[in-house]
Every structure is written in structure tokens, then in C-alpha cells.
């Protein structure tokens, strides 16, 4: 459903991605693992063309989206929950969700609120007044509201209390029944529980691809993830 072929990307003079290729198939949860600063977030940003790829190809639902405008890529059905959540801090929770409806062909606010019922009680609150966990829920709810065909989430469990992390895992499990997911995740257990396939990113390239089982059987974790 999503194919990334040999993309290179850089911030100004600093090259970050050196030929990354990966694929997310229908009904799949794909996880990107890797140490801090190896370029995981940049991969997602490049897919959204928030960072412009220097070379390479990105295809989504069979169509070339390389270098297309970010809003057009999103409209084609790519949902994105960025690393820093990017809640609209001056908008209410309700308006944050409504923002996802503006350009959506099949908005689904009800589904989003079913996943995170607590948000129903916060609808009139401004984004900036939410706790970190609530903001994370809102960021995901917003992406669900947009009614995407594939969801990319960048470290959604980061900074969450263990209890909320468990809730999040359930939501992602539910979400995975509806659409393929590309997940950046530092939490090894979460990755092992959710992923169908795992890519380990090292220094802007793919160092390992395989199922969670294959990863456990190989030395990949010690080699690429341990400090």
C-alpha cells in the first residue's frame, strides 16, 4: 500500500537519510525501531513531504506521491501523528477534531471519540490546557477523525504513564483492524506486541527487516538498539 524506495533526505547541508526503502502492505502493522537521531521521524516527514526528498520514490495506493504537496498527500488518505503531537494549542479539543474534517472525504469523529471516550468530557477545553497523555490521545483522535487509509504514528507512547500506554496499545490494536499502520516506536515490548514487520534504522539506512520473531532470533537488537 505504501512503498518507499531509496529515499535520500537532508536538512540543509546535513544529510540524514541515505537510501531508505521500506514497504507497508495492506493489513500490516510495520514498526520502525532505532536509536535516537537515526532518522526515524525524518522518514515519516519525508513521506508527508514535510521534508523534501532529495531522491527516491514514494508510492501510496499505487500512485506516485514523491514531492507532491503535503495537503494533497494527506487528502489521498495518509494520516500522520507527529512526534511532538502538534496539537493546535489555541483551539478547543472539538475544533482540533473539526480541523481534521475540513478537508476529509470521510470524516469519522464518532469513531475517534469511541477510541478515546475521555475526550468527550474535554471538548470545550483548549489544547494547551491538556495533559501530555490527553494531548497524545487528541493527536491520534484527530488523525482518526480525518478518516485515513493508512496511519503513520511517531512515538505515540513516548512520555505516557504505563497504564495509559496499555490503553494506547489496545487502541492501536483496534485501529490496525481498520487500516495499515506505520509506527515509529522506541518501546520494544509495544513493538513486539503490535508489529507484523520491523525495520531497524541505523544512521539513515535500514539495517534489519523481519518479523518480531526473526528479530528476537537474530542479534539485531543487541547489535543495533543496545547502547
Amino acid at each position: 500500500m505504501l512503498q518507499v524506495e531509496d529515499i535520500h533526505a537532508s536538512y540543509g547541508a546535513g544529510a540524514v537519510l541515505f537510501g531508505v526503502s521500506l514497504e507497508v502492505k495492506k493489513d500490516e502493522v510495520v514498526c520502525l525501531l532505532g536509536r535516537n537521531g537515526v532518522g526515524k521521524s525524518t522518514i515519516l516527514k519525508t513521506i508527508m513531504n514535510l521534508v523534501t526528498p532529495g531522491s527516491g520514490h514514494i508510492r501510496f495506493k499505487g500512485e506516485e506521491i514523491t514531492g507532491k504537496r503535503t495537503d494533497k498527500i494527506a487528502k489521498r488518505g495518509l494520516g500522520y501523528v507527529p512526534e511532538d503531537r502538534d496539537i493546535f494549542s489555541t483551539l478547543t479539543v472539538l475544533d482540533n477534531l473539526k480541523m481534521a474534517e475540513v478537508a476529509s472525504k470521510k470524516p469519522n469523529r464518532e469513531k475517534a471519540l469511541e477510541y478515546f471516550p475521555i475526550l468527550r468530557t474535554l471538548l470545550d477545553q483548549e489544547g494547551e490546557s491538556l495533559s501530555g497523555g490527553e494531548q497524545q490521545m487528541l493527536a491520534i483522535a484527530r488523525a482518526v477523525t480525518a478518516g485515513s487509509d493508512l496511519m503513520m504514528l511517531d512515538e505515540p507512547s513516548e512520555g505516557l504513564a504505563p497504564v495509559i500506554r496499555e490503553d494506547l496499545k489496545e487502541v492501536l490494536t483496534e485501529l490496525a483492524k481498520e487500516m495499515p499502520i506505520l509506527l515509529v516506536e522506541q518501546n520494544l515490548q509495544m513493538t513486539l506486541d503490535l508489529a507484523n514487520r520491523i525495520y531497524i534504522i541505523v544512521n539513515g539506512g535500514v539495517a534489519f527487516v523481519g518479523t518480531p520473531q526473526e528479530m528476537e532470533e537474530s542479534k539485531a537488537v543487541e547489535k543495533y538498539l543496545m547502547l
Binding site: 508527508m48 503535503t70 495537503d71 507527529p82 475544533d95 480541523m99 478537508a103 480525518a146
Partner: protein, 290 residues
């Protein structure tokens, strides 16, 4: 009341009038900056253009109400053109480019004004229906100034409603905060840019038309007020609508009150206030929130 209190009250009223005009200009300047990262040096030139177009429209139709509709419309169209043709290719490039372009647009507009309308000061009287003064119980105050205050308050409420109650306004507020995220939700931000830029400079043009009967009309009239509007934007907080209005009134009053005691210092006082204010609140009154 003593003469002094009457004088003071009159000057406070004048400060409020000028403050509201500043607020009208600063609103556009501030939201354009917050949304598009553009320091619009030409903003004062659109204000000047508004004043001159007002003179011509008044000469042609002899009807101030027509002026109040035609002026913002004309200036807005100029703004649409500048944004979509000149500025758009520069988005995503170094902000220095759009800064230089705005500077060029400012010089261009002022030059066109000189060619079309000449360099001399132009008189512009308030319309008959709004001339004269009313007695407010303790002082006589110009009807036209009261009208300007009413218009500015009305426009501020209108802009506020547009920002708060419409879906375009919601998108603008979201994009001022997190522009990339708005794109990532499938919204074409550049269409929003065009609207905001056009409306923002249209408001500056309207401010020029409203100010024309109060302040001298000449080709460089926009320069001083641009600098003062920047001060308002900085004090109010970049990108903040509320801040533009509150800071506009503060700056208007500071200028009016220093004029009362020490006229030569009225412009300097504003900068001194800004410097001191920024030391205590570097982000301005309202940070980056609208």
C-alpha cells in the same frame, strides 16, 4: 471639571482614536507575520494607498459610504495580486527574500502614488454628515473621530467573529500555531495565505481611508505609522489578534499623553515603552496566541 481634566479627557479620547487606527493596521501585520512568517514592510504603503484611493473615489462619487466599500476592495485586490504572484514563489525559501520583496513592493507602491497623485499634501475633509462636534457632557468631541472609533470597534468585532466562528478563521488560528500540521490534515494552506494577506492589507487600506481626514495625506504617510504598528505588533505579541488591539490602544494613549506634556518626545516615548516592556515580557502581551 477643571480645564486640565477636560484637556486630559479630550487627549485620552484622541489617543483612543489613533490607537484604534493603529490596531486596525497592526491586526493584519501581526496575523500575516504569525501565519506566513512575512514581515510585511509594505503594510504602511497599503495604508497610504487606501488614503489616496479614498481621495479619488470621493472625488468621483462624492459619497463617503462608497469610499468605505471601494477602498478596502481595491487594496485587497492589490494584496491578492502581490501575494499570489510575487510572494508565493518565495515560500519555503530564506525569509530574507520575502522581506526584501515587501520592501520593494513598498517602494513600488509609494512611487506609483507619487506618479498618479503627485507629491504634495492632499486635503481630505470628513463627509458633511460626520463633520462638526458633539457635546459629551464635559467636552466637545469631533463626530468624525467618534465615527472612526465606532468603525474600528465594529471591524475588530467582525474580524474576531471571522476568526472565532468560521471554519476559515479556525484554520487561520490553527495555521498560525502549527502550519505543517494543518497541511498534514489535507488543507491547502496557500489558499488561506491569500485570503489572510488580502484581508490584512485591505484593513490597512481602510485604516488609511479612515485616517485621511484626520492625518495629513502624503506619499510617505505610511512610513511613520508602519514603524508604530510594528511596535504595536511587538508589544501585543506576534500573531496575536487580541494583542494588536490592546497594544494599539496602549501605544495610542502613550503618544497622546506624551503629546500633552512633551510633544517632541511622543514618538520616542513609544520606543522607550517597548524596550522596557520587552525586558519584562519578551514574548509580548499575548505570546503567539490569537
Amino acid at each position: 471639571m477643571t480645564d486640565f481634566l477636560i484637556l486630559l479627557a479630550g487627549q485620552l479620547m484622541n489617543g483612543f482614536v489613533f490607537g484604534m487606527i493603529l490596531a486596525l493596521i497592526a491586526m493584519g501585520l501581526s496575523i500575516i507575520f504569525g501565519l506566513m512568517d512575512i514581515i510585511n514592510f509594505a503594510h504602511g504603503a497599503y495604508y497610504t494607498l487606501g488614503a489616496y484611493v479614498a481621495i479619488s473615489v470621493m472625488g468621483f462619487f462624492d459619497n463617503f459610504w462608497v469610499v468605505l466599500i471601494v477602498v478596502p476592495a481595491v487594496v485587497m485586490v492589490v494584496g491578492f495580486f502581490v501575494e499570489s504572484v510575487l510572494l508565493r514563489p518565495l515560500y519555503g525559501k530564506d525569509p530574507v527574500f520575502s522581506l526584501l520583496l515587501s520592501f520593494g513592493v513598498m517602494l513600488g507602491i509609494v512611487q506609483v502614488i507619487r506618479l498618479v497623485w503627485g507629491v504634495a499634501y492632499r486635503p481630505f475633509s470628513p463627509p458633511d454628515a460626520l463633520s462638526g462636534s458633539v457635546y459629551l457632557g464635559f467636552l466637545h468631541f469631533s463626530v468624525y473621530r467618534l465615527f472612526v472609533v465606532g468603525m474600528c470597534i465594529g471591524l475588530a468585532i467582525l474580524v474576531w467573529l471571522l476568526l472565532k466562528k468560521t471554519s476559515v478563521g479556525m484554520t487561520v488560528r490553527a495555521a498560525v500555531d502549527k502550519r505543517d500540521m494543518v497541511k498534514a490534515l489535507g488543507i491547502n494552506v496557500s489558499a488561506v495565505f491569500t485570503v489572510v494577506f488580502g484581508v490584512g492589507v485591505g484593513l490597512a487600506g481602510l485604516a488609511g481611508a479612515l485616517a485621511a481626514p484626520l492625518l495629513a495625506v502624503y506619499p510617505e504617510m505610511g512610513i511613520q505609522i508602519l514603524v508604530e504598528s510594528f511596535v504595536v505588533v511587538v508589544i501585543g505579541g506576534m500573531g496575536s489578534f487580541k494583542g494588536s488591539i490592546v497594544a494599539g490602544i496602549i501605544v495610542g494613549e502613550i503618544m497622546a499623553l506624551t503629546t500633552l506634556w512633551y510633544p517632541e518626545m511622543s514618538h520616542v516615548a513609544v520606543y522607550v515603552f517597548m524596550a522596557v516592556f520587552l525586558l519584562t515580557r519578551p514574548k509580548g502581551l499575548f505570546g503567539s496566541a490569537i
